[in-house]
């Protein structure tokens, strides 16, 4: 599905502005996702689309509302050159796949067709007819992602 490309240091204030944080419903948050830098995103994003960005994606506040909004918008995965650490752990904890792949992030543009194989660690850019490999997650993180988040993992193990 198609990619939405952004720049470096996309912060959580633009992913979901604080003026909407008096709500926590995922679909409500999704309807305002990215609006301060991209007014069309929330309207046009479809299930299975991707966000692609530069360095330090998700910097700023710890609001889990940010990955929640992205996931609820239907985004299959975020691909970036690098991620800010709190966003990284929040995304893992709610089961939103995030992938560090600098070449793919550099070369991909808005509208490119992408597909991804998380298990094999491969991204395909169909528009550019190119594939990229990425490091699969370490076992500790993979277990959380495979359970679709930390809560489900702990429920299975028992608290």
């Amino acid at each position: 599905m198609k990619a939405y490309k952004y720049f470096d240091n996309v912060d959580t204030d633009v992913i979901i502005p604080a003026r909407y944080l008096n709500h926590s419903e995922p679909m409500y948050l999704a309807s305002h996702c990215m609006e301060d830098i991209d007014e069309t995103f929330a309207e046009t994003v479809g299930s299975g689309d991707f966000i692609v960005a530069g360095e330090n994606f998700g910097c700023g506040s710890s609001r889990e509302h940010a990955p929640i909004a992205i996931k609820a918008a239907g985004v299959e995965a975020v691909i970036a050159k690098s991620f800010a650490r709190i966003f990284f752990r929040n995304a893992i904890n709610i089961g939103l796949p995030i992938i560090e792949q600098a070449d793919c992030a550099e070369e991909c543009q808005t509208g490119h067709e992408l597909s991804i194989d998380l298990k094999a660690g491969i991204i395909e850019n169909k528009t550019l007819q190119k594939t990229y490999r990425f490091e699969p997650f370490p076992d500790f993180l993979l277990e959380i992602v495979n359970h679709n988040g930390l809560i489900e993992k702990l429920k299975e193990k028992g608290v």
Binding site: V14, L21, N22, H23, I37, C59, S62, R63, I86, N90
Partner: protein
């Protein structure tokens, strides 16, 4: 192999003799923090876990500060969710309006964090308590929910950057200028996934309030945590505020750092971070006259007593420029009261500033000073991202209380050194 301060604290909290960078661990928590925005989401996670009860009702802190006193009906609902959870679970450290302050100023003041602790908070500026020699870091709501149920949190052991400070700050230069200088130097992701460890002979001259300001903004360099070496000032602060005994961890002599940076405090000047990133720092000889519409002194970065003192010293006997709206927000009730006793509040009102009850308010564009289209603010807060304080075309310039106060008088961004 030697360990850093952070690695030692983490090792002690997961029962390991030694930790290596990149190890995944599960650490025992001394405190779990949440606020009116993040806690309601965390409570959902907590409830999904179906835990019998919270891991320790004395080790959870809940602070309604972001949109409180309630800014609208939705905010009121969120505060209510947190309040009911606190009552139901008999949370000792729930702070109701009247007692609450901005969380990161409040917790140290209430003695809830001491050196050697491991603290997580569903708020990115939880790194503030590194000023006390604790390992303290921001996490999200899921981690908070799990932390409340289990008393544990997963971490990847970080590497570190050592910040060696020497010399002494000049008058009108403070902790805010030091941390802005550092972020300007290494960038907003310069310490990503890493600890910033502050040490060196320059430490001695920094007040605790300077250190809180600096540790607070470690996250603005992307750091996992910022931590200060514990000295006599730290110990005295903890003894004055907490009943708990601190545990002091020092870095091993052979600890390995990714990088060492030396900062000569005496060479630093008042520094301003331009929109829209905290790394866009400039000193006054690098820019001309920039007119502003609003000045905010407050937040978890610079809403403490020393900050209000510096603001009052500059404002005393002056008037706020007629084109400026000046908003001053003491970070806690105690700071408010102390500022009142010291006569600062009178100085502020006489100068034509408004003084608000403690709240995050405008810092995150919540309420109590939102910017209109194209407006500009100088703020002592910590973030100047697009839309942070209001309209997406508005601008925030980050600076110290001294620069903020001088700006309020002049109407344009002004250096306190100009007088």
């Amino acid at each position: 192999m030697g360990m850093t301060m952070t690695q030692k604290i983490l090792a002690a909290h997961c029962g390991a003799a030694e930790l290596k960078v990149g190890n995944f661990i599960e650490a025992d928590l001394d405190l779990v923090l949440g606020n009116d925005i993040t806690a309601p989401v965390a409570i959902k996670s907590y409830e999904a876990l179906k835990a019998q009860k919270v891991f320790d009702k004395d080790k959870i802190a809940l602070v309604p500060d972001h949109f409180a006193p309630n800014k609208d009906i939705e905010a009121a609902q969120q505060c209510k969710t947190m309040r009911l959870f606190a009552r139901e679970n008999e949370i000792t450290n729930y702070f109701e309006i009247g007692e609450m302050g901005i969380e990161h100023a409040l917790l140290p003041e209430k003695g809830l964090v001491v050196a050697g602790d491991v603290v997580i908070g569903a708020d990115s500026h939880t790194c503030t308590y590194g000023a006390l020699g604790a390992f303290s870091t921001g996490i999200g709501s899921t981690d908070m929910g799990v932390g409340m149920a289990t008393g544990k949190c997963w971490f990847r052991v970080p590497s570190a950057i050592k910040i060696n400070m020497k010399g002494q700050l000049n008058k009108w230069v403070s902790g805010k200028d030091v941390i802005l200088h550092l972020i300007g130097k290494i960038g907003v992701d310069g310490a990503r996934y890493k600890s910033l460890e502050f040490t060196g002979e320059g430490l001695e001259s920094l007040t605790m309030d300077d250190r809180f300001t600096m540790a607070n903004m470690a996250i603005e360099a992307g750091a996992k945590n910022g931590i200060f070496e514990v000295d006599a000032k730290t110990i005295a602060y903890i003894a004055q505020h907490s009943k708990r005994a601190p545990k002091v961890y020092t870095a091993d002599a052979d600890a390995i750092y990714d990088e060492e940076i030396t900062i000569d405090l005496s060479a630093l000047k008042p520094t301003v971070a331009f929109p829209h990133l905290p790394e866009n720092t400039k000193t006054f000889e690098e820019f001309g006259e920039i007119k502003v519409d609003q000045v905010v002194v407050g937040s978890c970065t610079n809403g403490r007593f020393d900050d209000l003192k510096m603001t009052a010293e500059i404002l005393k006997g002056h008037k706020v420029h007629p084109d400026i709206r000046m908003i001053i927000i003491p970070a806690t009730q105690k700071i408010y009261m102390d500022a009142m006793k010291a006569g600062f509040i009178e100085t502020f009102i006489e100068a034509g500033a408004v003084v608000s009850t403690p709240t995050c308010g405008p810092c995150l564009g919540g309420y109590m000073g939102i910017l209109a289209e194209g407006e500009r603010a100088v703020a002592t807060t910590n973030r100047n991202f697009v839309g942070r304080m209001g309209h997406k075309t508005s601008e925030v310039y980050l600076a110290s209380p001294a620069v903020a106060a001088m700006t309020a008088i002049k109407g344009y961004i002004a250096s306190p050194e100009a007088e």
